[in-house]
């Protein structure tokens, strides 16, 4: 059903509204980081990507990541190469801030064109874009530096050219699809899945689609074997990986989900026309069970379309009580805005902060590069990038992850000096980095719990730094 009341809306106006909103939303966290945090990158993973890019620019592509005690293999990633290339004429931090935003805006443009190719009504397209740019998953994907932003852009670009009616050179188009292999096996699977369903849909290009799908899957498998997943799958709730209001980093607002469910259900009869979207939505949802939030950034585009369908359905149906209709629409809009603002607020002031950076800068000047640092695994990437030290654990898996995890917990929670000292020595740990978050529940909940007790009461440790609630302890001997 077409919603034709928005006569003031033109093609250009629709895109400019969405573009300007996206620009504002993506720039706000950046502005906060520059003004209040001296331009520190947000989050944890961007530091990993910045470090790898920095290594590539200085030493070329390495076969393993040596900044974690249990070295893990490394496979070249186009995003790291791009950042390394950009570091030739700007700082890596600046590139890490700018590229996600640029890719976000370009992705928006491409998605807008794709929606136009689907012959959707202009008001529906505008609504989809507005819901998309205000979604926490979009904000996360295009403010936090990660290969996802580049991968999404390339995927949309490939999709855009592929769906053009005029013939495109197949070789260049294939390259765009094949490039997804190098990001991760998951990206390869998404690309293969799209080609597979498109091959079913479009008989004329089915041969090309199936061949390319097969090639991508096989090449992706061999390229990433055996490390299909580099992230550590710490036990978490699926809901906390999926819903930003429950804490998901790359998640969806509850109202986005509610509207998408309404859209999914109300447009079920048109599923043939929207088959690709339904199939992709199902795939990304299932991926939650195996790969946590990895597919959310992609699912977001599908969800935005379904949510706009749901919203328009609520607008178009005849309400008996117009007061309730108006209040309901207001509540939905407020709900969408709330999720967006709440997420922006959360991500803008996320760690690391200036005292953290200060302490790691100090550690860099004090410690030797080969010294290993023990801290919470979520701080691993910061320590590696800023103080240029190895860590025992970070947020990505290593070959011997399970056994190291046991020892890591023993070191943090044991009150027996002999056990802890032996493990510290085994892993060559020279420094222990502790902040207030770790003391207030992230690791410990009581004052003299585990390692904290040993640090205070044993001569085996010497406090070498204590400022702004951050302590650095040196392991004697």
């Amino acid at each position: 059903m077409r919603y034709n009341k928005w006569k003031w809306l033109t093609e250009k106006k629709a895109f400019y509204i969405a573009f300007l909103l996206a620009l504002a939303i993506l720039l706000i966290p950046l502005a906060v980081r520059v003004i209040r945090f001296d331009g520190l990158l947000m989050g944890s993973e961007p530091y990993y990507h910045a470090r790898i890019a920095s290594e590539i620019s200085h030493k070329g592509v390495q076969s393993s990541d040596a900044f974690v005690f249990d070295q893990r293999p490394y496979k070249a990633n186009p995003y790291h190469v791009l950042l390394a290339f950009a570091s030739g004429f700007m700082s890596i931090e600046l590139a890490s801030m700018m590229f996600p935003i640029v890719f976000g805006l370009l992705s928006l443009l491409l998605f807008h064109r794709l929606l136009k190719n689907l012959k959707l009504d202009l008001s529906m397209r505008l609504l989809t874009l507005l819901i998309l740019v205000s979604s926490p998953a979009f904000i996360a994907s295009f403010t936090l530096s990660s290969p996802t932003c580049f991968a999404i852009f390339l995927s949309l670009l490939a999709l855009y050219f592929f769906l053009q009616k005029r013939k495109q050179p197949t070789f260049w188009l294939s390259l765009l699809f094949i490039a997804n292999i190098f990001f991760s096996f998951f990206n390869a699977m998404i690309t293969a899945l799209f080609l597979f369903f498109y091959g079913i849909y479009d008989k004329k290009r089915s041969r090309f689609c199936f061949l390319l799908c097969f090639f991508i899957l096989v090449a992706g498998f061999f390229y990433h074997y055996p490390d299909f997943v580099t992230r550590t799958l710490y036990s978490k709730n699926i809901l906390t990986d999926f819903v930003s209001d429950f804490g998901a980093v790359v998640g969806f607002g509850l109202f986005n989900i509610i509207l998408a469910v309404i859209g999914f259900v109300t447009k079920w009869r048109e599923k043939k026309r929207l088959l690709l979207f339904y199939a992709l939505a199902l795939f990304f949802l299932l991926s939650l069970f195996f790969l946590r939030a990895h597919g959310n950034a992609y699912l977001n585009f599908v969800l935005a379309l379904l949510a706009s369908l749901g919203f328009l359905w609520l607008l178009e149906i005849k309400w008996e009580l117009s007061l309730l209709k108006n209040l309901t629409i207001i509540v939905i809009i407020c709900g969408l805005i709330f999720s967006c603002l709440s997420y922006i607020d959360r991500v803008s002031v996320s760690m690391p902060d200036k005292p953290t950076k200060q302490s790691l800068d100090w550690l860099q000047s004090y410690a030797s590069p080969e010294d290993v640092v023990l801290s919470h695994h979520s701080y691993g990437f910061w320590i590696q990038y800023v103080s240029k030290n190895k860590v025992l654990m970070d947020d990505f898996k290593t070959p011997n992850h399970e056994s190291i995890w046991v020892d890591y917990n023993t070191m943090l929670y044991s009150r027996r000096l002999a056990n802890t000292s032996a493990l510290l020595s085994e892993y060559n740990i020279k420094y222990i980095w502790i902040n207030q978050e770790m003391k207030k529940g992230l690791v410990w909940t009581r004052e003299q719990e585990g390692l904290l007790f040993l640090l205070k009461n044993s001569d085996s440790f010497k406090k070498v730094y204590d400022e702004n609630g951050i302590e650095i302890w040196e392991v004697a001997g």
């Binding site: 709730n237 809901l239 906390t240 819903v243 209001d245 429950f246 804490g247 509850l254 109202f255 509610i258 609520l314 005849k318 309400w319 008996e320 009580l321 007061l323 309730l324 209709k325 209040l327 309901t328 509540v331 939905i332 407020c334 709900g335 709330f338 999720s339 709440s342 959360r346 009150r415 027996r416 000096l417 529940g441 909940t445 009581r446 004052e447 040993l454 009461n457 044993s458």
Partner: protein, 497 residues
């Protein structure tokens, strides 16, 4: 509106219920253990304008989370009336207003004034509702009447005047208590019932359900933002320790449940449910059945405590009882026994007095006896005057609030669990401290929470089923500083390298 005979009786019932409540609550100047949390919030608002979201005393000091509107309402009254009178009287007035709401709901369903009057009378004497709300400044004394008021507005939704009332009421309820989620769940069940049973539902009801769902979800996200980020979806269980959930739901006693609801509403309310599931269909009845289903689901999922669930069920069954009353007398009119109608009414009345009013009185008496005794309060006063300000006192979780409120000292554990990490471990530790035979273990646990004093009250004896702490005979480590109830000072520390 014309003042009629039924209005007169309604006012009489209201005054009787209120009088009954006040009679018992004014027998003591103290309150139930749970009340002291609420009292502290009212005090804080009076003194600073805001409740205690940052509480230095609870769990040794932490950020707390709760919905504040109820406390603001009570605090408002304290500007015109002494605080003690407000805390004793106002919650009971709110709770007593339920009789008006039940009357109007029952009248709307049955169109029978006598049935509505009797249902109102029944709803005023639900033993568990009285037990939980008459002396505890309980939030349920306002949230339950407000919830049923919203249900009344839903029944009258065709009258457009009730729509703004509903919206305002829903807004208020969402800021008072999480009972608003029960409303939404009940409405969802109602819509499902309506679809399954092919009931004639109006679009207005569907629209109201959609609006209520979205409105409550949105406001809940706004309000519960921090607890949601802290606990994730487990916030629906309010971070309640497993021990308490297990205790609350262990061996639910059917006879006890009937006693707490009242025999009359229970039996006849269940009959009405049976009749309207299997024999007839009536939309208004299905609405309340849906709410009963929602309560049962929440009980099953342990989202609410057993006694709280019984309160809701008791009121729902009281409302459904009105339909039974009407049907009974319609039937009676068709028989030869119609001239014995007066006797039948008297019979109902006497049975109700015996099965609900008397148990309500007994429940109220029991609640008074279970409240902190005068001796306990004196001991807490002593603690306030004779111990360092930052002392931590170990007692049962039930006593946590009263330690904060009366002794003005930190507790180790109380009953507000949101935003507390490792609550299960803490509960296990406190339990162990009171029951262990090992002095070393006791001291280790006391050291873990930096406990300075242990209060071994009558409540602790009863809760942990022990007459004495087995390790306090060591005078080197435990000094008795107060005798009745015993309060011990913990002296020793254990270290391990």
């Amino acid at each position: 509106m014309e003042f009629r005979k039924e209005h007169f009786w309604l006012i009489v019932i209201f005054l009787a219920v209120l009088g009954f409540r006040l009679y018992f609550t004014l027998q003591t100047q103290h309150f139930d253990y749970d009340a002291y949390f609420n009292i502290r919030q009212v005090d804080s608002i009076r003194n600073t304008g805001v409740p205690l979201f940052t509480d230095d005393l609870s769990f040794g000091g932490r950020t707390t989370f709760f919905l504040p509107l109820y406390y603001y309402i009570l605090a408002l009254f304290t500007f015109f009336t002494p605080v003690l009178m407000v805390l004793k009287v106002i919650p009971n007035i709110f709770a007593s207003c339920l009789v008006f709401i039940v009357f109007f709901i029952s009248l709307e369903i049955t169109k029978n004034k006598n049935a509505a009057i009797f249902a109102a009378f029944v709803s005023g004497f639900i033993p568990i509702f009285i037990y939980k709300t008459f002396n505890s400044v309980s939030i349920y004394s306002i949230s339950i009447p407000l919830l049923f008021f919203l249900l009344f507005c839903l029944l009258k939704i065709q009258d457009k005047r009730f729509i703004p009332l509903y919206v305002l009421g829903l807004f208020a309820l969402t800021f008072i208590h999480a009972t608003s989620l029960l409303l939404v769940l009940g409405l969802a069940f109602y819509v499902v019932f309506a679809l399954l049973e092919n009931l004639e539902y109006s679009r207005s009801e569907i629209e109201l359900t959609i609006f209520s769902l979205l409105f409550v979800v949105w406001l809940s996200l706004l309000i519960f933002k921090n607890p949601l980020l802290f606990h994730g979806p487990a916030v629906v269980w309010q971070n309640t320790p497993n021990m308490i959930l297990d205790e609350s739901f262990s061996r639910p006693d059917f006879v006890d449940a009937v006693y707490k609801i009242g025999v009359v509403p229970f039996i006849f309310g269940i009959y009405v449910i049976y009749r309207y599931i299997f024999r007839e269909r009536r939309k208004a009845i299905y609405l309340f059945m849906s709410f009963a289903m929602a309560v049962l689901l929440m009980l099953f999922l342990r989202l609410i405590q057993f006694d709280i669930g019984l309160m809701f069920l008791g009121i729902i069954l009281s409302i459904l009882f009105s339909q039974f009353y009407k049907l009974f007398f319609i039937y009676l009119d068709k028989t030869r026994l119609s001239r014995l109608k007066i006797l039948a009414v008297l019979g109902f009345f006497l049975v109700f007095i015996a099965s609900s009013v008397l148990p309500s009185a007994l429940s109220a008496q029991r609640a008074i006896s279970e409240a902190p005794s005068h001796r306990d309060i004196r001991a807490l006063d002593w603690l306030e005057k004779n111990t360092p300000e930052n002392s931590i006192v170990l007692a049962t979780p039930q006593e946590g609030y009263v330690i904060n409120a009366v002794a003005n000292r930190k507790n180790v554990v109380d009953q507000n669990f949101l935003l507390v990490r490792d609550i299960n471990q803490r509960f296990v530790d406190v339990n162990r401290t009171f029951t262990t035979f090992s002095e070393i273990e006791a001291i280790r646990l006391l050291n873990k929470y930096d406990v300075d004093y242990i209060m071994f009250s009558r409540e602790a004896r009863s809760y942990y089923k022990t007459n004495a702490l087995s390790y306090v005979d060591d005078k080197n480590c435990f000094e008795i500083v107060y005798t009745f109830p015993p309060i011990y000072r913990s002296i020793c520390r254990i270290e391990e390298i």
